[in-house]
């Protein structure tokens, strides 16, 4: 396998519901990535596109729609969906194509336009699509799943409602310094604690909404492109994981889970991260900056444990001791996280990788971590989807 570098990244800033079409957002991100890499479109040799599931035929063929905007060149274009880890899948395929020598330069992108209101069932066939059962019979929007796990955690460890609020305080501070974030107001613990419960123990400011956004990265093994790029970032590993039998987590869209654990919780993310550690030879102790999927404050805590940054039940202490702050031992989510962005399904994993690359390239201004050399982006998607990307400079 060849060494693969990120030479260009682009983002369309995150925002709320939009009347614009997803391809326009995608084009902004891809244009940014081409400019950053200082290269012309015709040098892209493959496109790995995240599927935009609410976009009908266009969204399912996001790569073809994007290609036609910049000019069709006949290259392989593959569209992929892995729930909220969709962007991880696109990056992994781009990486594998370049690392294996199939192509020299590949584009991975995702663009998502928030549907108005809530995410909900996408079919009406309860036998084929079990998601229909949870919506019609158990009335469980996604945050309910997080609340059920959070309640278990609070009973098992000493996680408090103040801890959950403190996560938002940190995320909002960083989000306020990120021009690409959707939410830019910094909150105090009291303000978070005074926000309404959505599903106890989680409050409105402790869960993330759905958003509109787009992100694109250009990967290459082409020496000429690498040498002219501004601080190319090496991809040490980019992996995906699925769930393991006996994982006790109640997965979004399921209505049952095992009562006796035979695997780690969030085993898809355990699996993706361990694959990445093994492939890269880099462990959690080597990571200088981490982007994790803080869909809720519970995720922020549990992901530190699932990915091996501390033992089970110790994440609260890391948070309280300030270890996860910028300037701490392990700065977490200097981007402001999903808390400050919201989820843009196919784009968010790519945006996390871009934040990591930007940190390594020293481009993060007010929220810059001091001189990081290794960064890790961790994603999470419903029903057993996860991706880990480890980067270095």
């Amino acid at each position: 396998m060849r060494d693969v570098y990120i030479i260009g990244t682009g983002i369309h800033p995150w925002e709320g519901f939009s009347e614009k079409v997803f391809a326009d957002f995608a084009a902004v991100a891809v244009n940014g990535a081409l400019k950053d890499a200082d290269m012309e479109w015709k040098k892209i040799q493959s496109i790995m596109a995240g599927i935009f599931i609410y976009g009908g035929n266009a969204g399912h063929l996001a790569g073809q729609y994007l290609e036609s905007i910049f000019g069709e060149t006949g290259i392989p274009v593959v569209n992929v969906y892995n729930a909220c880890a969709t962007g991880s899948a696109a990056i992994r395929m781009a990486y594998n194509s370049v690392a294996a020598g199939e192509t020299d330069t590949a584009l991975a992108f995702g663009a998502d336009v928030s549907p108005k209101g809530f995410l909900t069932a996408k079919s009406d066939n309860a036998v084929q699509d079990r998601d229909v059962i949870r919506w019609k019979m158990t009335a469980m929007p996604n945050p309910v799943y997080w609340a059920l796990e959070c309640r278990k955690r609070m009973a098992k460890y000493d996680t408090t409602e103040q801890d959950l609020a403190q996560v938002k305080v940190l995320m909002s501070e960083y989000g306020s310094k990120n021009p690409d974030a959707r939410f830019k107001k910094a909150y105090t613990v009291d303000e978070v604690m005074n926000s309404v419960y959505v599903c106890e123990p989680l409050r409105l400011f402790e869960i993330c909404p759905v958003s509109t956004g787009a992100a694109a990265v250009i990967l290459t093994a082409n020496k000429e492109l690498i040498s002219k790029a501004d601080k190319p970032v090496k991809i040490n590993a980019t992996t995906m994981g699925s769930s393991m039998y006996g994982d006790p987590t109640i997965r979004i869209s399921a209505v049952s889970c095992p009562a006796v654990p035979e695997a780690p919780m969030l085993s898809e993310s355990y699996s993706a991260s361990r694959q990445a550690y093994e492939k890269s030879g880099i462990g959690p102790q080597d990571v200088d900056v981490l982007e994790l999927p803080d869909n809720s404050s519970w995720h922020y805590l549990v992901y530190l444990e699932v990915c091996g940054f501390c033992k089970e039940g110790e994440a609260d202490k890391m948070l309280r001791d300030g270890e996860t702050k910028i300037g701490g031992k392990l700065p977490v989510n200097p981007s402001g996280g999903f808390s400050s962005h919201g989820e843009a399904l196919s784009a968010q994993a790519i945006w996390q990788v871009i934040e990591c690359a930007n940190q390594l390239r020293g481009r993060c201004a007010e929220r810059q971590v001091e001189n990081p050399k290794v960064a890790m982006a961790q994603t999470y998607g419903l029903m057993g989807n996860s991706g880990t990307t480890i980067l270095s400079i």
Binding site: G117, F118, T120, A121, D124, A126, V127, R130, V132, I133, R134, W135, K136, M137, T138, A139, M140, P141, V144, A147, L148, E149, R151, K152, A155, V196, Y197, V198, C199, E200, P201, L202, Y245, G246, I250, A254, V255, S256, C257, P258, A259, V260
Partner: protein, 145 residues
């Protein structure tokens, strides 16, 4: 629970009340021992031959393994005639079957919820259909002491 004869589940093959008790319709794999709910949510142990899956009703009673109180209305396709918000959602553990199942909590003071408390499976009427039947889902309620 109402008159059971006039009840229909909104989605079939999930909840049974033919024995007089309300019970969830699970399936058990006799090869790997795993219980599934719903029945079609196969979760075989890797390497299992997947032979001998048979229907199994879960017990009527279990223990509350987790819960939340949902403070805003669930969007469609969830549908109820009356507003049930705020409502409880419980994760109830059936110990022998080694499975936890989620469902709406009904007929219970939400302030009284405690992890480990005994819960029983019941039905919750969501709306009445054109045939004047009560359309129900499964739900859980605290066992009265």
């Amino acid at each position: 629970m109402g008159n059971m004869k006039d009840m229909v589940a909104r989605i079939p093959n999930l909840v049974d009340w033919s024995t007089g008790e309300v019970r969830l319709m699970s399936a058990k794999c006799n090869s790997c021992g795993t219980y599934f709910f719903p029945k079609e949510h196969y979760q075989h142990r890797p390497g299992c031959s997947r032979e001998g899956v048979e229907d199994a009703l879960l017990p009527n009673k279990g223990k509350l393994a987790s819960y939340t109180i949902q403070h805003y209305p669930c969007p469609p396709p969830f549908k109820t005639e009356r507003n049930i918000t705020p409502y409880g959602i419980g994760l109830v553990e059936f110990e022998d079957e080694k499975i936890q199942v989620a469902g709406i909590i009904t007929d219970t003071d939400l302030k009284s919820l405690k992890l480990g408390m005994e819960m029983e499976t019941t039905t919750l009427t969501m709306f009445t259909n054109e045939e004047k039947q009560q359309v129900v889902t499964w739900a859980f309620r605290a066992v009265k002491q």
